[in-house]
């Protein structure tokens, strides 16, 4: 317990020092990792804790991204209002769609989340006047105080840390335990009076909300939104990040996001065949490291899973 607090504090300190290294590339890289780490953390609330295999998590990321772009630019709202509003829009959408999704289980749940995710993509793709369609939403009105990479770095660091802390508190709470119980045995949880659907709906909404925060950050980071973000492969990627890092531990998805983004940026400089590299990594994880990097390290340390 104490060890992990010290570790986290050290990591945060190290992250806070990154901009001092003076490398613009490093600042961009670590900012992107922060954003995707939050995205993967939100996804793992569903997968790791709730045992829910969602194949439409890209929807929440992109709804957050588009909502913040539209609120900031098209409607010209001030940032401090637009950012929370974009998150609220995502939360609402996740609650609404989640209500339908948690009615189904297993393969059907995955398929329904995929269908809704693709629906969001189709709307973003075709509603050109609002989203920019295929060309993307370009030229987002980013507020002045976030217009420098360093300042945005610290802003996103604060937001991501805050969200991660909230998520950590959630999974340690009685609610988090109940969610794990529904994953372990749905029937038994129901027998002792847990409203499984409601517990799952809350998880779905929370996961969607935090993914929306990540999406909104990504918009400000890129100054634009592209429709590819909403395509199903983004949902697959966040799944790979979680599995690679390890769905069985809280920090696993963060590790997975960091490793995958870092490798992506590095490998792409040498070859266009990054997908193959990702495919091989994925195979290696599936066959040789089923508990992911975090699980692997834990076992080496002699610790237990979860």
């Amino acid at each position: 317990m104490n060890k992990s607090i010290t570790g986290t504090a050290l990591l945060v300190l190290l992250l806070a020092l990154v901009p001092l290294a003076g490398s613009r590339y490093l600042i961009y890289l670590v900012t992107e990792i922060q954003i995707f780490a939050l995205f993967a953390l939100s996804f793992n609330l569903l997968l790791g804790y709730g045992g829910l295999i969602s194949f439409g998590h890209a929807a929440w990321f992109s709804i957050g991204a588009y909502a913040s772009a539209i609120l900031l630019t098209t409607l010209g709202w001030p940032f401090l209002l637009a950012f929370p509003a974009a998150v609220a829009v995502t939360a609402l959408a996740a609650a609404l769609i989640g209500y339908f999704c948690v009615k189904l289980t297993e393969i059907y749940f995955s398929m329904l989340t995929l269908a809704f995710g693709q629906l969001v993509w189709a709307i973003a793709f075709k509603w050109v006047s609002v989203t920019g369609g295929d060309t993307g939403f370009i030229g987002v009105a980013v507020p002045e105080f976030l217009d420098s990479p360093v300042r945005f770095f610290y802003f996103s660091l604060c937001v991501v840390l805050l969200c991660a802390t909230v998520l950590w508190v959630i999974v340690r709470s009685a609610y988090g335990m109940t969610l794990v119980a529904t994953r372990e045995n749905r029937n038994r949880a129901e027998f002792i009076g847990v409203n499984v659907r409601r517990v799952q709906l809350v998880a779905f909404t929370l996961a969607g909300t935090f993914a929306g925060v990540a999406g909104a950050l990504f918009t400000v980071f890129n100054h634009s939104v592209f429709v590819e973000t909403a395509w199903w492969s983004t949902s697959a990627e966040v799944m790979i990040m979680s599995i690679l890092g390890g769905v069985g531990s809280f920090v696993g998805p963060v590790i997975g996001a960091a490793v995958l983004i870092f490798l992506d940026r590095t490998v792409t400089e040498y070859t266009q065949y990054w997908p193959s590299v990702m495919g091989v990594i994925l195979l290696a994880v599936l066959f040789f490291m089923p508990t992911g990097i975090a699980g692997f390290l834990n076992r080496r340390r002699g610790g237990t899973r979860r």
């Binding site: 393969i107 995929l114 693709q118 189709a122 075709k126 199903w232 799944m239 997908p275 193959s276 994925l282």
Partner: protein
């Protein structure tokens, strides 16, 4: 628009031929989904690879009048062989694991095959010419329609009938149906279920390869074409019912016709309509229009 019967007829034919083409591909997926219960994202990649293998084989059989048809058979065999290797070496070690691992395994295949196509055939758009004698149009009384697309409709129906006969009227088909229903029971009766899984995966993938080869003259071959087709196959499998052959047939027709007439009714937003339909079917009848409800959904 609706006062033009010729246009309507052409759209109807477009919908039917698209639907039949989709059926050829998705019948393979629905076979795999029904028995292995694997959300096989690689099915689209097998389809794409089938198209590219056909492109190469057509070039190799250039002089022969039957060249194209040999290439179609060759693509099916090549993809079946590839699926055999993948199943024996890797996939079968994942059957006892969570759904998620199998799903991600097939996604790894998507990534690898996507790059394989880029390495092997380049990133530019390729096309396969129509087989000799089928590059013209046929007079259907109301209008002329491309002969090759017409033939696709016929092949689709033949594939459907052939598969139906196999699944419902042969001993091997009975085993496949049994594996779909209760794996453990079948195993305890002394049947090698692993072999059934293997051959279902091989057959389903061979059908995907054949579908890619047959589609090749009607579409353009380009990397990335697999991502869309696999989602369409999922939509069909869901609408029809997981593992239901008749359902896949119905789903393919619905999707094909919706595509053709959606363009007329609400241009631009027909794609939204298709995903909306998938959502509605899942909410109202998650087991699909022609599928059977499973435990927990009754």
């Amino acid at each position: 628009m609706f006062d033009n019967p010729v246009l309507l007829f052409i759209q109807l034919m477009n919908g039917l031929s698209l639907g039949m083409n989709l059926f050829i591909i998705s019948s393979g997926l629905t076979l795999i989904l029904g028995v292995l219960r694997v959300l096989n994202f690689a099915h689209g990649a097998f389809f794409m690879l089938g198209g590219y293998v056909c492109f190469t084989l057509v070039g190799a059989f250039d002089m022969s009048p039957m060249g194209f048809w040999l290439a179609v058979i060759g693509s099916a065999l090549a993809l079946g062989a590839l699926a055999w290797i993948i199943e024996r070496l890797m996939l079968r070690h994942l059957y006892h694991r969570d759904h998620l691992y199998q799903l991600l395994f097939t996604y790894a295949l998507v990534l690898l095959i996507g790059d394989l196509v880029k390495v092997g055939w380049g990133s530019s758009v390729l096309s396969v010419s129509f087989p000799p004698g089928l590059d013209g149009a046929t007079n259907l009384g109301v209008a002329y329609y491309p002969s090759y697309r017409l033939l696709l409709c016929v092949i689709g129906v033949l594939v459907g009938l052939g598969l139906w006969y196999f699944v419902n009227r042969t001993r091997a088909g009975r085993l496949v149906r049994a594996a779909r229903q209760d794996r453990e029971m079948l195993e305890s009766l002394g049947i090698n279920v692993g072999r059934i899984y293997l051959w279902v995966f091989v057959a389903g993938s061979a059908i995907a390869g054949m579908g890619g080869a047959l589609a090749a003259p009607a579409i353009a071959l380009a990397p990335g074409m697999d991502a869309e087709i696999v989602v369409e196959c999922f939509i069909i499998a869901i609408i029809g019912g997981l593992g239901s052959l008749g359902g896949a047939f119905l789903g393919s027709l619905i999707l094909g016709l919706l595509n053709a007439f959606g363009v007329l009714l609400i241009p631009e937003f027909e794609i939204v309509l298709i995903y909306l339909m998938m959502v509605l079917v899942l909410l109202i009848r998650p087991w699909g229009l022609l599928g059977k409800p499973e435990a927990g959904y009754r």
